[in-house]
């Protein structure tokens, strides 16, 4: 093993903040601003054609989060790596806390009050899990990863928080967390056949798991399969969402002209269903534009992963990219009636602090990886 080197950057350990800022990809920050601006427009409409109560707070929050993101980007990725297990433990602690003291909302314990902000620990946990897993696999050679015993600790590190999230119960986030973990395992080089076995096993136990779901979760799946069966109950959201999306047509009804949104047929139009507002008022063109901007963010994460010269950074970039992608995919698939409804917001566009905060923390970490993509990690300390 190599000797631990105390160099932070490739060229100079003492690179200043200004220098690091120079390394920030500002095009990416601009891209985020564009997406947030689209969110502002949509929330302005959702507020009935006024900045209050959603749009102005969205802008304020975004501004704060950009500063936070840039601050995180300044932190050395090796420091982050070193602290990743601490972060994981912190996340786990919050999950336990929410299980014990959490706010009950919509039949599930998901929120924890941290001073003035409500935090959804499951959101934070996704990021912490990515960091922890990336750290674990950072040093593992291809052969090492092939050893099943080596995989036991990261599997436990994944399944414990997933179990807690499912217990809340939050089926959607639990599944997403599992998929993010899986993506990191996959990128780290875990063998194909292990995934094949796992997926096979999962399909085997799915019917048994279904039996243990909450009634409302089962209802959600059933309504998804046949939304018209319950047009005023659980199926209402899906139907109204599809109506709003579809009625926008190619070019949309025009800004502030969406009847579904403005007459309140859309449920939670400022949060989970914000994308339907965009589609109703700006049509397919507007929807695809927003979708393309979001896809660029995912592409950027992939770029960071490919350009990074250390395994930790690569895995973090892949994990965070998949995290962001899953947000987008689940949300849009949900509003288009492609998968069962679950409370997943559209990051940077939906109203709401928790999702924006965790997303931007993620981007901060991603930027840190980018800024420190050439950092050289020392030898293993184990």
């Amino acid at each position: 093993m190599m000797v631990f080197e105390r160099r932070l950057l490739t060229r100079d350990r003492g690179a200043g903040v200004l220098e690091k800022l120079w390394l920030i990809p500002w095009t990416f920050v601009l891209l985020l601003c564009a997406i947030a601006a689209a969110g502002y427009v949509a929330l302005y409409s959702a507020g009935g054609g006024a900045p209050e109560p959603y749009a102005s707070r969205h802008a304020l929050r975004f501004g704060f989060c950009v500063v936070m993101m840039l601050s995180i980007a300044m932190i050395d990725v090796r420091v982050i790596a070193r602290l990743s297990w601490v972060g994981w433990l912190f996340g786990l602690g919050l999950l336990v806390l929410v299980a014990v003291h959490g706010q009950v909302g919509k039949g599930a314990q998901r929120w924890v009050e941290l001073g003035p902000i409500q935090l959804q620990p499951s959101e934070l946990m996704k990021i912490m899990l990515v960091l922890a897993l990336a750290h674990w696999f950072h040093r593992a050679s291809w052969e090492r990863v092939g050893n099943p015993l080596f995989l036991i600790p990261p599997v436990i590190a994944t399944l414990v928080p997933v179990g807690l999230i499912l217990k809340q119960p939050n089926l959607g986030t639990g599944m997403i967390t599992l998929m993010i973990g899986g993506a990191v395992f996959w990128a780290a080089g875990v063998r194909w056949w292990k995934f094949a076995i796992l997926i096979g096993a999962a399909m085997g136990i799915a019917p048994i798991a279904y039996e243990h779901l909450h009634d409302y979760q089962r209802a959600r799946i059933q309504t998804f399969l046949d939304p018209e069966s319950d047009p005023l109950g659980a199926g209402y959201n899906i139907i109204q969402s599809k109506i709003a999306l579809g009625s926008g047509g190619l070019w949309g009804k025009g800004f502030l002209q969406g009847t579904q949104g403005h007459l309140n047929f859309l449920p939670e139009k400022q949060t989970d269903f914000i994308f339907t507002m965009i589609s109703e008022e700006f049509g397919l063109v507007g929807a695809l534009t927003v979708l393309a901007l979001l896809a660029l963010v995912v592409a950027f994460a992939l770029l960071v992963a490919l350009r990074c010269r250390h395994q930790f950074g690569r895995l973090v970039a892949v994990g965070l990219g998949v995290n962001f992608f899953l947000y987008i995919f689940v949300n849009i698939a949900m509003v288009t009636g492609s998968i069962p409804v679950g409370g997943v917001p559209l990051p940077l566009i939906s109203h709401g602090g928790s999702a924006m905060l965790t997303t931007m923390v993620g981007f901060g970490l991603l930027l840190s990886v980018w800024v420190h993509r050439n950092a050289e990690f020392g030898a293993a300390r184990e």
Partner: protein, 680 residues
């Protein structure tokens, strides 16, 4: 980790990351496809659905058509109904508002409970009715105190109003909220506050009166709050129905009758019902505001059945008023000749049975005319025996007895005339004794006063007139108003004349059973027939002890009946009177019929240009028989002010012959009117 190992790890990572990226790209493609499918391929369908969401079409209740009497007096109208409403979202404290309001209009605990329940059940912007049918005073007080009553508003709706209250309740009926069984596909019925006819004309002509709903299209939000009105199409108001009843005559008739009495007055020429009174009655206005359970119980448990129209639903044996039917059947069957005399010893023996005449001493020899005049039972026992029940029943049906007369009053009873087949279907034989008893109108008959009036009208005119109430709809006169609309009964005029003569003798000849029913001079001549029907069987023992009906307890006394038409030579009006437990047709029913006929003449015969009076003692006008003198128009009971100024649509029809000589007699003065009808 060696360089080689690192390289290997990196290449695996790159491959897998790119695969992952490809997968993500694929899923983005899937999302794009879904969006494209929803917006472009199915966009139109969803646009329609969005429009259906947005636009709510509501119905506008059209005003219900009015019901008018033959002179255009309104007997069912729409009245304004002032209501207090409470909109929960406009007040901070519902309880406090109600508290303040209850200082103006007292609210009971149960009312408050109902209001609070309504508020909980509905959206907060939907007004809830606090109280209906406010008086002007209450209204004004609420308006003045409006600033202290947040959320309270006053609006005006309509309610059905019957100015003639209980006088026409049985005819016009009443309205009530639709029941499950009323739902007939008319979207109007789904409107809140809508009323449908529940009985009488209101029910029969409900479709006409109801009108067609208008629509208003409004943009609404998801919870149903109206954002703005997009389009409005007014409905068509219900059609006005004019009925043949004379409301003032009806009132006059009702003023004369007591509990258990029914009177039907018909225009004999066309079957129009002019008055139809059944005592007791009820106030249909109470249904409009919603009747209390106590009131309903009182009505339904009352033994004198105020809710039931006895003229159409009361069933009675016709008694001697049936004898004309038997006589006509016998004449037609030629089993008796008009002049043939039958001896009445006071009783009639058939096998072992003895049937009594009402006159124990007997009438001696009587022909048909005498039989009717004296209402001799023995004469008709014998005639009935000769003609047989089958031909009697057939004649009864031809005259409108025991058949559905199709009058526009839902639930009307057809009545019943027994036949041999009916009895045999019950597994019992029809004996000759049964025929004999049925010859005098006793036995299994169940007839309504309306059918008896119809029988009289048919006898008087020889036409198969049917009683009806509808005179005009939206100002257009319906079929059946002209006498020629009705076909002949096919009974020879000679036979009819013989029977009518008998009825004339009943009233106008010395020894007739209803001499009391003679009309006062100047009113023309009335012909009629009395009847009394036992409600309990009189036993031989009672008879031997000197049974007298008037000594019995009231509910055991016989019903008293009288049927009549007038004027005799030119029949225009037919009447039937049934006085429950009135004991004797001649004593109880006949005088009433006479008075009602006088009312009819006063009300329905046109006024002369100058008041008419005849010198005392002058019974009739020249050129006519004394008996058949047409009545001089009378003013005594109907001052001109009581009649509407508007010309009557049907004036030409009701007017008697214009050649009436008394009309142009200028020598008469108002002060000398000896022939004013008697008042009782």
């Amino acid at each position: 980790m060696s360089k080689r190992e690192e390289e290997r790890r990196r290449s695996v990572f790159t491959r897998r990351a790119l695969l992952l990226g490809a997968g993500q790209l694929g899923l983005f493609g899937f999302l794009s496809y879904r969006l494209q499918k929803l917006t472009v391929q199915e966009g139109e369908r969803y646009a329609t659905m969005a429009e259906e969401n947005r636009v709510s079409t509501r119905l506008l209740a059209p005003p219900r058509g009015r019901v008018m009497d033959r002179d255009g007096r309104v007997i069912a109208a729409n009245d304004l109904n002032w209501r207090v409403l409470l909109t929960a979202e406009q007040t901070q404290d519902v309880a406090a508002t109600l508290e303040t309001l209850s200082r103006i209009i007292p609210l009971s605990e149960s009312e408050r409970g109902r209001i609070e329940r309504d508020i909980r059940r509905r959206r907060r912007f939907v007004p809830v009715v606090v109280r209906e049918f406010l008086s002007w005073e209450e209204m004004a007080k609420i308006e003045v105190n409006a600033p202290d009553l947040p959320g309270i508003s006053v609006d005006v709706g309509t309610t059905r109003f019957y100015p003639y209250t209980e006088h026409l309740a049985h005819v016009v009926g009443y309205v009530a909220p639709p029941a499950e069984s009323d739902i007939d596909g008319d979207p109007l019925l789904a409107l809140p506050g809508i009323r449908v006819g529940r009985s009488g004309i209101e029910k029969h002509h409900d479709r006409l009166l109801r009108g067609r709903a208008g629509t208003v299209q409004m943009e609404v939000n998801a919870v149903g709050r109206v954002i703005r009105e997009l389009d409005r199409r007014e409905g068509t108001r219900g059609q006005d129905v004019q009925i043949s009843i004379d409301a003032e005559l009806q009132k006059a008739v009702r003023a004369r009758i007591e509990e258990g009495t029914s009177v039907v007055v018909m225009d004999a020429r066309n079957g129009e019902v002019l008055a139809m009174a059944s005592q007791p009655s009820f106030d249909p206005n109470l249904f409009s505001s919603g009747i209390s359970a106590t009131q309903w119980r009182e009505w339904t448990r009352n033994r004198s059945t105020p809710l039931i129209n006895k003229t159409t639903n009361g069933l009675y044996a016709p008694g001697s008023t049936f004898k004309m039917v038997v006589g006509l059947a016998a004449l037609e069957a030629k089993v008796v000749t008009p002049g043939e005399r039958i001896f009445c010893p006071g009783h009639y023996d058939l096998g072992d049975s003895r049937f009594h005449c009402w006159l124990r001493s007997g009438h001696g020899n009587l022909d048909l005319r005498g039989g009717l005049k004296n209402s001799c039972d023995v004469y008709f026992y014998e005639v009935a025996k000769r003609v047989g029940i089958d031909r009697i029943a057939a004649m009864a049906r031809r005259l409108g007895l025991g058949v559905d007369l199709e009058i526009e009053l839902p639930g009307t009873k057809a009545g019943f005339v027994p036949t041999r087949e009916w009895r045999q279907a019950q597994g019992k034989p029809w004996n000759l004794g049964d025929t004999v008893v049925h010859g005098i109108g006793q036995g299994f008959y169940q007839l309504t006063p309306l059918s008896l009036a119809t029988m009289t009208a048919r006898l008087a005119t020889g036409r198969a007139v049917q009683p009806h109430l509808t005179h005009a709809i939206s100002g257009r006169t319906v079929r059946g108003v002209r006498a020629e609309d009705w076909p002949s009964l096919g009974i020879p005029e000679r036979d009819l004349r013989l029977v009518r003569e008998g009825m004339w003798a009943v009233v106008n000849e010395e020894g007739g059973t209803a001499k009391i029913a003679r009309l006062p001079p100047g009113y023309g001549v009335l012909a009629g027939k009395t009847g009394s029907t036992q409600v309990r069987r009189v036993t031989r023992e009672q008879r031997e002890r000197g049974y007298r009906a008037e000594n019995q307890p009231r509910e055991w006394r016989p019903h008293a009946l009288f049927v009549a038409f007038a004027p005799y030579d030119n029949p225009q009006y037919a009447i039937s009177v049934v006085v429950e437990h009135g004991t004797s047709g001649g004593a109880a029913a006949a005088p009433l019929a006479r008075d009602v006929m006088v009312d009819v003449m006063n009300r329905l015969r046109p006024q002369p240009a100058t008041p008419v009076a005849q010198p005392p003692g002058t019974p009739g006008a020249p050129g006519r028989t004394t008996e058949a003198a047409p009545a001089g128009p009378q003013l005594a009971e109907a001052p001109p002010a009581a009649r509407p100024a508007a010309p009557r649509a049907d004036a030409a029809r009701v007017e008697p012959s214009r050649s009436d000589p008394s009309r142009s007699d200028p020598s008469r003065s108002d002060s000398s009117r000896p022939d004013a009808p008697p008042r009782r």
